[in-house]
Amino acid sequence: MGLLSPSRALWLAMFVAGAPACAADWELALDLRAVSSDGRESFLDNGQGKLRFDEDHQGIQLGRLRAAWNQPLGEVFSAHVEASTWDDDDKNPIDLTEAFLEYRPYPRGGLRTRVRLGAFYPPMSLESRALGWETPYTITPSAISSWIGEEIRTIGLEGQVDWLGTRLGYDFDLQLTAAVFGWNDPAGTMLGAHGFAFHDRQTTLFGRVGAPQPDPEFAKKELFHEIDGRPGYYVGAQARYLDRAVLNVLHYDNRADPTARLPSIRDLAWLTKFDAVALRIETGGGWTLLLQGLDGTTVIDPGFWLDWEFDSQSALLARRMGAHMLTVRYDEFNVLFRGDPLESGSEDGNAWALAYSYDSGEHWRFALEWLRVDSDVPARVELLGEPAFARESKVEFSARYSLSGSF
């Protein structure tokens, strides 16, 4: 593609941001965990376990160390950078999850355009609404949000048009989004390798998913690369009723050429398409209902056609009572491998999560979560000699200290 590489674009953003016109806002957050888990060997360690912290990763763990920087560049431009470390054998000790320039002119006649250039998340998870693309409802996001954080990133250009009806006396706002992107051709690799998982560990732009893959026959799990020179796209729409309800739909297609290879990461271009829908309803009594659905396919063609169908549904109910919040969530997830049945990459599972969180003042947030994932993964039999069915549970306590300010 005749576009800048992600690293060059990032340096350009840094350079432009180096001449600030206005005060920058910054955030820092340290999230420590205490974990009790009976999880199988984690997908992060190339296993078939569904959890970030498995049986061998209990006790005190680093949840996330996060630093964010928002730099206004004049009135309508701004730069945003999110850096994190997860301490999970990552390729880089500190790496970026998002870095983009935003153009956000003032609205005119009820319409506002917004343009983002760089690396960021597509607008689809109504769950990941807290700072750093985290979910405020639980410690561990749904299967859908976990997968988006793991494999999907827009590295490209996104345009949005908002119709600000609530500023014109109506009860509704509408938004249309379209984006063109590259460097996400390996998206689908992890679905094919281990299916869905439940974790809050977002893959970094220059990193990989978890520990190195020692087997030279398997991909390196570095997901943000351009392989075939064909840009992908997504289009989406969002409707809001006041500040009470949001409905979001998105169609994503990375338009990858499934025959293209990139030997340096031992991976192919995965032709991944999906539709995502999410509905969030909040009431004045502190209740939140969040429904999410994802349905897609991913295909590779290393000389023979291999394709996977995947889908997931999630329902979350939360009740906020002042600084306290209680959440219950149910997830279903399925991957159906339609190639050689002996090399099955299929799975079928569900999960329950129960969480309590407490915001103590401006800086501290404490959360406690119980998560149980039941999954039927035939690959466990073939690859690991384990039973296909696994019930994995964990109890996790999170203490997060955050700071923010301007300079």
């Binding site: 005060a23 206004p72 003032y106 609205p107 500040d243 009470r244 906020r320």
Partner: protein, 221 residues
């Protein structure tokens, strides 16, 4: 006052003073008061409703200088009622930046409010409701009601608004509230006489849902 009294300047002055006193007393005796009670459809009082009383006989109230601040990612106050030609200052008490805008027909403007930077006040010369937003924080919402009325105010916790010493006459009363959901503008003609007038208004529809409270500002809107 008779023509004979005008013959002496002293008497004339005395008479004039008496006439003035009589006129003033007469007006005071004739002035009415108006108590407006606004109820929601469910009979609960409507708090914070904006009421304006206009009459062609009286000019707009004198312009004022008012403040619309940004505190903890919210406009303070959420509703500001000002006479025509008033000036409103937009400070920013937050540590972070805001970009205040309005594209309402009554007044269109935009202000980048960075910390420690002040801007001249905005003057509002057209009557109407000006909806304020922040271009950075979409959940911020407030209203400035600009009125040419000589009398205006907001209902209290009991849904009442009282105007004492109201010159008799025919007034046009208008009611507005950020959450009002009536099919048409609420407007009444009120004849004020030299006594205590009482007007009760009851909305025909439920209010629109109020903005959610207590949701952390750091969450996506």
């Amino acid at each position: 006052m008779s023509r004979r009294d005008q013959e002496s300047p002293f008497r004339w002055i005395t008479a004039a003073a008496l006439v003035c006193l009589a006129w003033c007393c007469g007006v005071q005796a004739q002035a009415g008061s108006l108590t407006v009670t606004v109820k929601q459809r469910n009979d609960k009082p409507l708090v914070g409703a904006v009421i304006t009383l206009e009459t062609p006989a009286l000019p707009s109230a004198s312009p004022i200088a008012a403040i619309m601040d940004q505190v903890n990612l919210a406009f303070v106050p959420d509703v500001l009622v000002i006479p025509l030609h008033s000036k409103v200052l937009f400070p920013n008490s937050d540590a972070i930046s805001h970009q205040v805008y309005s594209f309402s027909s009554a007044r269109q403007f935009q202000l980048p409010l960075y910390r420690g930077k002040t801007y001249p006040p905005v003057v509002f010369d057209q009557p109407g409701v000006v909806t304020l937003g922040c271009n950075i924080h979409d959940n911020m919402l407030a209203y400035i009601v600009v009125t040419g009325a000589p009398y205006f105010g907001r209902t209290g916790a009991d849904g009442e608004w009282i105007v004492p010493n109201l010159p008799p006459g025919k007034y046009s009363l208008r009611l507005w509230h950020p959450l009002i959901n009536e099919p048409q503008e609420v407007e009444r003609t009120v004849n004020i006489a030299a006594d205590r007038d009482v007007l009760e208004l009851r909305l025909s529809r439920d209010l629109r849902p109020a903005p959610l409270k207590g949701r952390p500002h750091s969450w996506d809107y």
